[in-house]
């Protein structure tokens, strides 16, 4: 989240798209209720009428997978309205804080010129070969002056400036096209446009709430890009009640992402080293963005300090200037190779992967194409699972339909403690790091994962010290000392924060980190979270800011709760908050100021309110651009770094019931297709299907399907469908139905509802159904897994699987 849960109460318009917060974030939904009591409008854009829709002022139905067309239409509406009613928009923000003014390479061509493609495409359209499906992005780049600073046209009239290219790109997204693609009635769509566009006025705010309905597409990242353009045009980023807010689905998925348990990044979102990084210097050069613009702070210029401090945290005294601080102890991936979830299971299926460790995850239920992933597990030599229960993953060898005797995987199942049987911190969607305490004992010999990791690491370090092995020093040079018996979680938390190694004191903030090896920090983003006791004496655990419980709301009373727990980065509650003020440092929204320049503060003035994105003076007084994490200092309306185009373009899901109404290019042209033979076609599978969750259950079911109360509340997986489809198929509410895709079939209960309606587009009718995915074959409540049906294809930029739009057929069982 750019903002945070409590800040939703400040919003004037909230649009939930690709998310259903009343269902999946019910307790946090209370802040939306507060906003509504203030008169805010709630818009729910969803293929079906949901619990969120039930509380919305406007419900707009949308066929799954057509967000770009929908938001593109909104962008088109707003760009036209800016022409007619410029006074209703914050043009200073657009001009000064975004790259709308940047001039683009004159050779750039977009989908309007190239039948749905951008300039630089290699490979023919609908090509399957992964090596050919990519773009040369040179024509998407900014024109730069002799100092390398992007050229700008502050009038935004130049036909090559980003603003004009965006206009040209989105003028094709007319309300009629939106209707033909999304199936949204035109009047409803226009009501959404009018309502949300009203947040573009100076002093008004609008927020976008999204979740996996946005990301789980072959163009999920571009869906978010479309939200970005929309929110920048409305000046909604950085302000209270604004932002683009990813509602994260797990208690610590924000934290686990910050610690970068992902192949392409290492803690603190540093890029993973690759084969060509033959020295630390080369790595730093490759991964550090540069800017010659004196007005751009370019925060990532500090990459060298963060990587060196990370290496010092991991290898301690063994990380020295003479060995590049142990840079080569880190593994290097092959540049350009993908090691993400789908690739991982494909490699497992190929027999490349022999051993698997799983910590509180259940891919046998949650992974796409679940039968394929279960079969891949059969090929492992060994598997380690840590969980609080038996899971489908741990039990894959005794799933229905297989003979355990034929499965040679050796499996270790480790009994874990649950969240209140141990001590530590978690980070929520708001980026709040909150401390939890041990409140009760675990069952039997259950242990916490920290203990397991500590014991394993010590054993491995001993084995490599005693026996050696290839590059044994990568392991036995680790700085790993958290106590002899149970590892001290506070020692770990302090290591994450980092130390000034010359004094032995905890570093106060990441601005104190250095590239010369005199500081350590296990994750620079969390620097400032655990400080010397005298720097935070009033916290329940002195020094540990995550433990704070002070409800003081700060100077502006906008619900920042700046002294409740701690928030990355440096306790900044709303990021990009320098965009919430004008060039003189006065808040756009005087009623809900996030920060405000106070000339009387200190010697030369200072900021009141939230922790600003850097303490420099306002732009008119020599301060820098507001988007400090961007190399050019301004936010990207035009995004030349994306794999699949600098602007979002509508494509159909990999499996789609209709052709692309926008262009000849049916699918995203660059995502990797693993199994073309498993693509379902509309003649056999005419119905669009999405998977989703219900309030009463959770993810792969490990944490709810052994619990009577929630099982009783939601006892079986179901398939939601319209009354029209049910009638067509002779299905009655409560019947068992077979839902079938090109990957397999499942048996669910039919939930026939008025809340799903067939989509009528261009004269054709498209049905959509929805299935919930929490079930599997292990536990107190068992049932078929929805992911038997989902495909092994992923987003072009992120490889997130396309769970939200694929084709099925449905029949009575």
């Amino acid at each position: 989240m750019t903002n945070h849960w409590n800040d939703l109460a400040n919003s004037d318009v909230l649009m939930a798209i690709g998310g259903n917060p009343a269902e999946n974030h019910p307790a946090a939904f209370g802040h939306i209720t507060i906003a509504k009591e203030r008169g805010a409008k709630l818009i729910s854009v969803d293929p079906r009428f949901t619990r969120t829709s039930s509380k919305a002022d406007i419900y707009a139905p949308i066929r799954s997978g057509t967000d770009i067309a929908f938001i593109g239409g909104m962008i088109n509406y707003i760009l036209n309205d800016i022409e007619s009613n410029p006074g209703n928009y914050n043009l200073t923000y657009i001009r000064e804080y975004t790259n709308a003014t940047f001039l683009i390479n004159p050779d750039y061509k977009g989908p309007a010129d190239l039948e749905g493609l951008f300039s630089g495409y290699s490979g023919s359209s609908n090509e399957i070969d992964g090596t050919k499906r990519n773009y040369n992005k040179s024509t998407w780049q900014f024109q730069r002056d002799e100092n390398g600073i992007p050229k700008r046209d502050m009038t935004m009239k130049d036909p090559n400036c980003a603003y004009q290219l965006i206009k040209k790109h989105f003028e094709r997204y007319t309300p009629e096209k939106v209707n033909a693609i999304c199936g949204t009635p035109i009047d409803t769509f226009l009501e959404v446009c009018r309502t949300f566009a009203a947040s573009g006025q100076v002093g008004k705010s609008g927020t976008i709430l999204y979740a996996m309905g946005t990301t789980q597409h072959t163009y999920g990242a571009q869906n978010i890009r479309s939200y970005t353009i929309l929110q920048l045009l409305l000046a909604n980023i950085g302000i209270a009640g604004g932002g683009i807010n990813a509602m994260r689905g797990e208690s610590n998925v924000q934290g686990s992402t910050d610690y970068c348990l992902l192949y392409h990044i290492i803690p603190g979102y540093l890029k993973v080293p690759v084969d060509s990084d033959t020295t630390l210097a080369k790595y730093i050069t490759r991964t550090t963005p540069t800017s010659n613009d004196p007005l751009s702070l370019n925060w990532w210029k500090n990459t060298d300090k963060y990587i060196v401090s990370l290496l010092k945290a991991w290898y301690g005294d063994n990380a020295t200037t003479s060995n590049d601080f142990g840079f080569h102890y880190l593994p290097k991936i092959t540049s350009g190779q993908d090691y993400s979830h789908i690739s991982l299971f494909e490699a497992m299926n190929e027999g490349v992967i022999k051993g698997l460790m799983v910590w509180g995850q259940n891919p046998a239920v949650g992974g796409p194409n679940a039968d394929l992933e279960r079969t891949a597990m059969d090929k492992l030599d060994w598997m380690v699972v840590s969980d609080i229960w038996q899971t489908e993953t741990a039990n894959h060898w005794k799933r229905p339909g297989v003979n355990p005797a034929e499965i040679g995987t050796e499996v270790f199942l480790l009994p874990a403690k649950n969240s209140w049987e141990k001590e530590g911190s978690v980070t929520n969607s708001s980026r709040w790091m909150q401390w939890r305490y041990k409140a009760a004992d675990g069952p039997g010999e259950a242990e916490d994962d920290l203990w397991m990791l500590d014991k394993l690491a010590k054993r491995l370090m001993q084995l490599y010290t005693d026996e050696g092995g290839p590059s044994a020093e990568c392991i036995n040079k680790l700085d790993w000392d958290y106590g002899d018996d149970h590892p001290d979680v506070h020692a770990v938390a302090k290591e994450i924060n980092g130390y000034d190694l010359t004094t032995g004191k905890l570093v106060a903030s990441f601005s104190g980190l250095k590239a010369d090896g005199t500081t350590s920090s296990g994750n620079w983003l969390y620097c400032n979270s655990y400080v010397e006791p005298d720097a935070e004496p009033d916290a329940p655990i002195p020094g540990n800011r995550a433990s704070r419980r002070n409800l003081d709301d700060g100077p502006f009373n906008i619900g920042l709760h700046a002294k409740w727990a701690w928030c990355w980065p440096v306790n900044r509650r709303i990021i990009y908050n320098r965009a919430s003020v004008d060039l003189d440092g006065n808040p756009w929204d005087a009623e809900h100021p996030v920060i405000k320049w106070n000339p009387a503060k200190g010697d030369s003035g200072g900021w009141d309110g939230d922790v600003p994105d850097g303490g420099a003076a306002p732009m008119n007084q020599g301060g820098y651009y507001p988007f400090i994490m961007k190399a050019d200092g301004l936010s990207n309306m035009f995004g030349p770094g994306m794999a699949d185009g600098p602007l979002p373009e509508h494509y159909e899901p990999w499996e789609a019931p209709i052709d692309n109404t926008m262009s000849k290019q049916k699918n995203n042209p660059v995502f990797k297709i693993w199994r073309p033979d498993q693509q379902g076609t509309p003649d056999k599978y005419p119905i669009v299907c999405s998977t989703y969750r219900v309030c009463e259950h959770w993810q792969g079911g490990q944490m709810t399907r052994n619990m009577p109360w929630v099982i009783e509340a939601q006892p079986e997986p179901f398939c939601e469908m319209s009354e029209e489809l049910a009638e067509e198929k002779g299905i009655a509410n409560g019947d068992k139905v077979i839902v079938e895709s090109a990957r397999g079939q499942v048996k669910f209960v039919a939930l026939v509802t008025k809340r799903f309606k067939p989509f009528k587009m261009n004269g054709s009718t498209v049905h959509q159904v929805g299935i919930i995915w929490h079930w599997g074959y292990t536990g107190l409540s068992t049932g078929d897994s929805a992911n038997i049906l989902t495909p092994h294809v992923g987003d072009a930029n992120t490889m997130i699987p396309e769970y939200k739009a694929f084709l099925v057929n449905v029949r009575k069982a």
Partner: protein, 288 residues
């Protein structure tokens, strides 16, 4: 004496069912795991609304109603649990005073003396009480929502004066589990008079927002309910009885037949005996 009440605002409820589960958590209604052999319907019957019915261990459940008018879809949520009526059919019909109004105005019951006769079940205009008759022993006990305040099930075990004092000084600590659990603040607990005023104001607001049929349900029904609903439409749209009343037979039982019975004396024993007979008859029936 100041009656307390619960105000449920359907216009704020998202049906997350925190109340439904927290009721079980607090009241330790965790005896039954949902299997058919345990007498609980563990199948989904084609609805978000599970389990399908109240039971001796499900005192509160949320109801979901889909309404479509002029192409406008609405998904209405409401609460199904004891309404704690002032004119309470169950209290009137209870043969030995096991059901009664406590000092806070809620319908309380004493499980020690409940004979499980089941008359309260038939007498309730909202169909709330449930009984778990054991076929072998004939023992049956009625169960229902206690508003977490009735004797023996105390979240608050106190006289009205003490409860008022605690309510004031503990600032809402002692509120029913469902109310405490409600994330969007759709449930409130407090003095009934205050809540009636709040409910009326909310209804006025909803009417001003175009909900012409909005109504405060329970202000006057059955002498005034101690669980009142702010509804966005008329009660029948939510499946609630528009003018709930106690049947004449129920009144006759309480006012005419019961006194005669008491006059005969030893009714408790007779009641238990009856209980045995009914239970045995049922067992025989099942056996056949």
């Amino acid at each position: 004496m100041a009656d307390k009440a619960i105000l449920y605002d359907a216009s704020k409820c998202t049906a997350c069912r925190g109340c439904q589960v927290m009721c079980k958590q607090w009241n330790e209604n965790d005896e039954v795991i949902p299997t058919e052999e345990n007498g609980v319907d563990s199948r989904n019957w084609g609805s978000y609304e599970n389990p399908k019915d109240l039971s001796p261990t499900t005192w509160l459940k949320m109801r979901f109603t889909e309404v479509e008018e002029n192409g406008q879809m609405r998904w209405l949520f409401t609460r199904q649990a004891c309404m704690h009526c002032t004119d309470a059919g169950c209290v009137q019909v209870c043969p030995n005073g096991s059901l009664y109004h406590n000092d806070l105005g809620f319908v309380a019951y004493n499980k020690d003396t409940c004979t499980g006769c089941g008359y309260c079940i038939d007498a309730c205009p909202f169909g709330i009480p449930r009984s778990d008759r054991n076929l072998l022993t004939g023992i049956a006990k009625m169960d229902k929502c206690t508003a977490c305040t009735s004797q023996g099930y105390n979240r608050i075990e106190a006289t009205a004066a003490e409860a008022d004092a605690m309510y004031e000084s503990w600032k809402g600590e002692l509120i029913p589990a469902c109310v405490k659990a409600c994330p969007p603040g759709a449930l409130k607990y407090g003095y009934r008079d205050t809540l009636v005023a709040e409910g009326r104001a909310r209804v006025d607001y909803l009417k001003s927002q175009g909900r012409g049929n909005a109504t405060l349900y329970g202000e006057n029904e059955l002498g005034g309910l101690h669980v009142m609903y702010v509804l966005e439409d008329s009660p029948d749209v939510y499946g609630l009885p528009v003018s709930p009343s106690i049947s004449a037979a129920t009144i006759a039982w309480k006012d005419v037949i019961q006194p005669v019975g008491w006059a005969v004396g030893g009714l408790a024993i007779v009641g238990l005996g009856l209980n045995w007979l009914v239970a045995r008859a049922n067992i025989n029936k099942e056996a056949k």
